[in-house]
Symmetry: C2
Subunit: 260 residues, 2 copies
């Protein structure tokens, strides 16, 4: 890793899972454009729900593309996690100062953190000791208004750049889909226990064979007022600090007594 000289700007790596063509990544890059040297490396096609997938079975490509005036941008044919790995190793040739992922079109609160390509890209950066954050707006529409979200992306990025944090800093930020005036501020939360109750839609193809579409209804089982779901419902921007050590230390104590 190259040492930064005093005059050098921080490098901000920007990625997402909705692809380079999504309005959300433009909004994210614009929100932080003047805070450092922004470099965008994003999937060339939508990668929602890819979780922490990586590409092993086929080779990866990088393509330099036009983006916003003054911002260097590349697409990759892989997953969001691949984008982060390639950006560090083949484009930047050093760790960026921070990595920002999003702004996702749709919620990534509660259990969604596990399925989300947006958050997996940020988590990959965090594993690589790059402080990072994933941002999601609770609006799936491609016509969503990203202006209130941009304001909060900026506030959080400024804090992330302001001082030395834990090198594995990882934030899951969700922004309610309401006008700026109605947003009550930022709430630091825990991940709610809420999940999708699956109901596959069953159809028959013209050859008489069944096929299934994954659908599901979101159900919040968590009545806590300290969760991301609660915060968003009450028009707060939710910030959940996330970790990649998945050890369940409570359960560890119990299992130590098992007689194998």
């Amino acid at each position: 890793m190259l040492k930064k000289t005093k005059k050098e700007q921080p490098i901000i790596l920007v990625t997402n899972d909705d692809s380079i063509a999504a309005p959300g990544i433009k909004a994210l890059a614009e929100a932080v454009q003047d805070l450092g040297r922004v470099v965008v490396v994003a999937p060339d096609k939508p990668q929602s729900g890819m979780g922490h997938a990586i590409t092993i079975g086929h080779p990866l490509r990088l393509q330099k593309v036009a983006f916003i005036e003054g911002i260097e941008a590349y697409t990759c044919n892989g997953t969001p996690v691949d984008c982060v790995k390639l950006a560090v190793d083949k484009i930047l040739h050093r760790k960026p100062d921070i990595c920002l992922s999003g702004i996702n079109h749709g919620a990534n609160h509660s259990i969604n953190v596990i399925y989300s390509g947006t958050m997996s890209a940020a988590m990959e950066a965090s594993i690589e000791s790059i402080p990072s954050a994933g941002f999601s707006l609770l609006d799936y529409s491609m016509e969503a208004d990203f202006n209130p979200a941009k304001l909060y992306v900026r506030k959080i990025a400024i804090q992330m750049l302001a001082k030395k944090h834990d090198k594995h800093l990882l934030l899951n930020v969700n922004i309610p889909a309401v006008p700026e005036l109605l947003i009550k501020g930022i709430k630091v939360c825990r991940q709610a226990y809420a999940k999708y109750e699956e109901a596959f839609v069953e159809r028959k193809d013209p050859h008489g064979k069944m096929y299934y579409w994954l659908t599901g209804e979101f159900v919040n089982f968590d009545k806590g007022r300290d969760t991301d779901v609660w915060a968003l419902k009450n028009n707060y921007v939710s910030v959940v600090p996330v970790q990649f050590d998945l050890t369940n230390y409570e359960l560890k104590k119990k299992i130590d007594t098992w007689k194998f």
Copy 2:
């Protein structure tokens, strides 16, 4: 969910990420065949490194297939997580008593838990309140000797079925690739901070364009003697209890003091 009558056998859902054709899933099913009604639902092609990916963009198919005598088996064209969701909703029509995933051909200790399709299938079951475990043998070969691993799969499955556990019980079990006599027993561990240091292999295609293969060297940064990497190096079977609440509660306290 249907209630079990007293006489009913427990239902053991078996899945993996190496596909129905991998020797590891046969070894797993055989190891627990007499402990209950085993139902196999596995991907129809290898899905290693798929992480917690789900299939949103195209429909899913299920196909009943021949497997081991006396065991009902299906393939699915989706990810390991899709297999679990479809098994519960469209095949079993109830939650199985436990879900076992693997036996993976290759290690899933330390940070691999995040990338692993094997562990993601088990985690999906855990989110669905099904006690579950993922099993991995530290041998990538298709000719690996699964006999010592089968013994430990069985020991752990018996414990899982023996009494009522936390409904979100989730175990990441790795088995060293050594003869049975050399295995010292089971060690309950925490996830090591160890990761792959990426080094993409760079090649040029016949048209002069670059492409990249993801490779990497595994590096253990964690000197603890309570980790899965340590246990495996010392010929123990490692058992890491895993959770899907990714909130970093320590970091949460620190961030509460940020001035946004």
